[in-house]
């Protein structure tokens, strides 16, 4: 272990599990940007870059949440519904005259309850994560609908202008606040994942749940923590959505859980657990956002965009599989295990 710590070469960085794919997709992202930039000079205009970064921010946020859950070897299908729930609860409260900041805290709190349920259902009650979060997905969407009696809300009004600026329209140091929110949360959650015991436990149970259990990792609390992160970032995206629209729509966030999976796996997070870096999620979310934005500029029909994104998801995972099987044939399986234990025991 010490030996590898002292190696400060490029090879050392690449040897971090998942880093190779981060490099591959980063190169892909750069190529995409260049192509779109050549096709349309307005792509690199200050205005579009600012907008583009702000469009990436929500995808990055839910991507962080889904990455956490995927690394534990689970999945969170409730993300989109929690976004909708967060939007509808916050907007309904504001239209009824609640102080926006009070509404924000209450909204985050209720959304965290969904994460808590997810975590306990999966780890304590041992439901398959796909089923458990499918259930909470439906429930959360129902709550979104019932929040304002089955109607989209009215305008959240002038009183909430401060709230709208904080989450979406305002700028700090030249960048939109939404971008700052995403950066700050990314730094915090990346720190937790890579530098703390909880983070190492998250990787550990994703790699080998039995081994983790035997070495004293609490499966229930670790899994629940990951789901709480997921619900937290989803509730923030819901608040951003309310701020963007100035109202609450019951359909908000529809399908976001899968965008989050896409952002994660494009960035090299393994759906099998135990592997992934939040650096990758940044690149995955950026590729998603750049494609949405760039293909719109290029005048491509939405159908084409969907096909392109689908192909990229499949190819990026396929690349990873090929790279790994290539490695496996060269190295013995034990070396893989070794890297793993290093991450856990650090």
């Amino acid at each position: 272990m010490k030996e590898s710590m002292n190696k400060s070469s490029f090879g050392r960085v690449l040897s971090i599990r998942g880093m190779a794919q981060v490099f591959t997709v980063t190169i892909g992202l750069i190529i995409l940007c260049i192509v779109f930039g050549i096709m349309n000079p307005a792509f690199f205009s200050a205005r579009n870059v600012a907008n583009l970064l702000r469009q990436i921010a929500p995808i990055l946020l839910i991507g962080i949440g889904q990455s956490y859950v995927l690394i534990t070897g689970n999945i969170d299908l409730s993300i989109g519904s929690v976004v909708g729930m967060s939007t509808m609860i916050s907007a309904t409260m504001m239209t009824k005259g609640t102080n926006p900041w009070l509404a924000v805290f209450f909204t985050i709190f209720t959304c965290l309850l969904v994460g808590l349920s997810n975590g306990l259902l999966v780890s304590f009650a041992k439901l398959p994560p796909f089923i458990a979060t499918l259930g909470t997905m439906t429930i959360a969407r129902g709550i979104a609908q019932i929040a304002n009696n089955n109607y989209n809300t009215d305008s959240i009004g002038e009183a909430a202008q401060g709230f709208r600026n904080f989450f979406y329209y305002g700028k700090t140091l030249g960048f939109y606040n939404t971008i700052w929110i995403a950066i700050v949360l990314w730094v915090i959650f990346n720190f937790i994942l890579t530098r703390t015991r909880s983070g190492r436990h998250i990787y550990a149970i994703g790699s080998n749940v039995e081994a983790a259990r035997l070495s004293g990792v609490s499966i229930v609390s670790t899994t629940t923590k990951a789901y709480l992160v997921s619900s937290f970032v989803s509730s923030i995206v819901g608040l951003v959505t309310t701020a963007t629209s100035g109202m609450g729509t019951m359909d908000a966030g529809n399908g976001y859980e899968l965008y989050a999976v896409a952002a994660s796996v494009i960035g090299g997070v393994s759906t099998l657990g135990g592997q992934g870096l939040l650096f990758g999620t940044v690149i995955g979310a950026s590729i998603w956002g750049v494609l949405q934005n760039g293909l719109q500029f290029a005048g491509a029909p939405v159908a084409i965009r969907n096909i392109v994104i689908g192909v990229i998801v499949v190819v990026s995972v396929l690349l990873d599989v090929i790279v790994r099987s290539g490695k496996a044939s060269k190295l013995r399986l034990s070396s893989h295990r070794q890297v793993n234990t290093v991450t856990v025991g650090e």
Binding site: N150, D154, S155, S245, A252, F297
Partner: protein, 302 residues
């Protein structure tokens, strides 16, 4: 086993008694069946229908709707209405073909059928609906006139819609495009945002960066997105949209949207009941297709 048979028998008896009771109470019984209960749109159809019912008198009226849009559930509603002794059904059909078998049974039971909002492929007394193509064209003309009025005779225009499978918004888009045929304006590829106001705003902002002179939103969420993007950009982009909601009206009031096309669901309900009433009395109902039209709402109307 025996117990369950007894329970079943009691249930059947109770249902039969209920049905009997319902039949006796009926003078003229009209049911409204919509796609779901979620939309303000249906509430307004119901309001219009209730108004006609209270004006005409002697009608027992009831609104049935599934909790979510679902073909099987709508068929159940139709069957329930027939079993409940309906003389006429005002139906907003989920799709053109899914409910036709149920409607055939209803007709065989002597039920008069009137379509409100959307028709199925089955003959009925009358269809009362928004002609979405015409309404889209109206929106297009509003935008065209406003652009010309501000001295803009060429440029690109962006469209935000729901998806490519919703018949009403697809028709609106087609009508809108038609209004610009033979003008100096280019209509860009439509962006679909599932009616999500936040995504619609992002796509609208991209359009504005691309330098569009006008934007069109094909439903409520799309229109809110268009309005918010124009409000933020602060550029001379003109936006028109569809549907009437508090947020859309406030965007019109603040001058960020020029106009919205408001459907008249209350007219559908009101005139629908009247047509059903006429048909039940044996009078002739015409026309076959009643365009309930759209009202163009601008700042001046608020």
């Amino acid at each position: 086993m025996k117990k369950s048979v007894v329970v079943l028998l009691v249930l059947v008896l109770a249902t039969a008694l209920f049905a009997q009771g319902a039949k006796e109470a009926a003078g003229m019984k009209i049911y409204l069946i919509t796609m779901d209960q979620m939309d303000q749109h249906w509430v307004n159809v119901d309001k219009g229908a209730q108004k006609a019912v209270s004006e005409l008198g002697g009608i027992t009226y009831k609104w049935l709707a599934p909790d979510v849009k679902d073909d099987a559930k709508q068929i159940e509603c139709i069957n329930n209405a027939v079993a409940g002794g309906a003389n006429a059904i005002l139906l907003a059909a989920n799709g053109p073909n899914a409910v036709t078998a149920a409607l055939k049974e209803a007709q065989e039971a002597g039920v008069t059928i009137v379509y409100v909002d959307s028709a199925a492929n089955f003959p009925a007394v009358q269809t009362l609906a928004t002609d979405n193509t015409a309404a889209g064209a109206t929106a297009g003309k509003e935008l065209l006139n406003a652009l010309k009025g501000s001295g803009v005779n060429a440029g690109t225009i962006g469209i935000i819609s729901v998806n490519s499978a919703t018949a009403s918004t697809v028709a609106r888009e087609a009508g809108f495009r038609k209004a610009f045929e033979g003008t100096g304006f280019t209509l860009l590829e439509t962006q679909y945002c599932d009616g999500d106001a936040a995504r619609s705003k992002d796509m609208s902002a991209n359009f504005i960066t691309q330098g569009v002179v006008g934007l069109f939103g094909a439903n409520e969420g799309s229109t809110v997105g268009v309005g918010n993007a124009i409000a933020e950009a602060g550029r001379a982009v003109i936006g028109v949209g569809f549907d009437k909601s508090d947020m859309i009206l406030s965007l019109i009031k603040s001058g960020h949207l020029l106009a919205t096309m408001a459907q008249n669901p209350d007219v559908m309900g009101y005139e629908g009941i009247k047509s059903a009433y006429k048909a039940l009395k044996g009078e002739k109902v015409s026309p076959d297709y009643y365009d309930t039209g759209v009202s163009v709402l601008t700042k001046a109307d608020l």
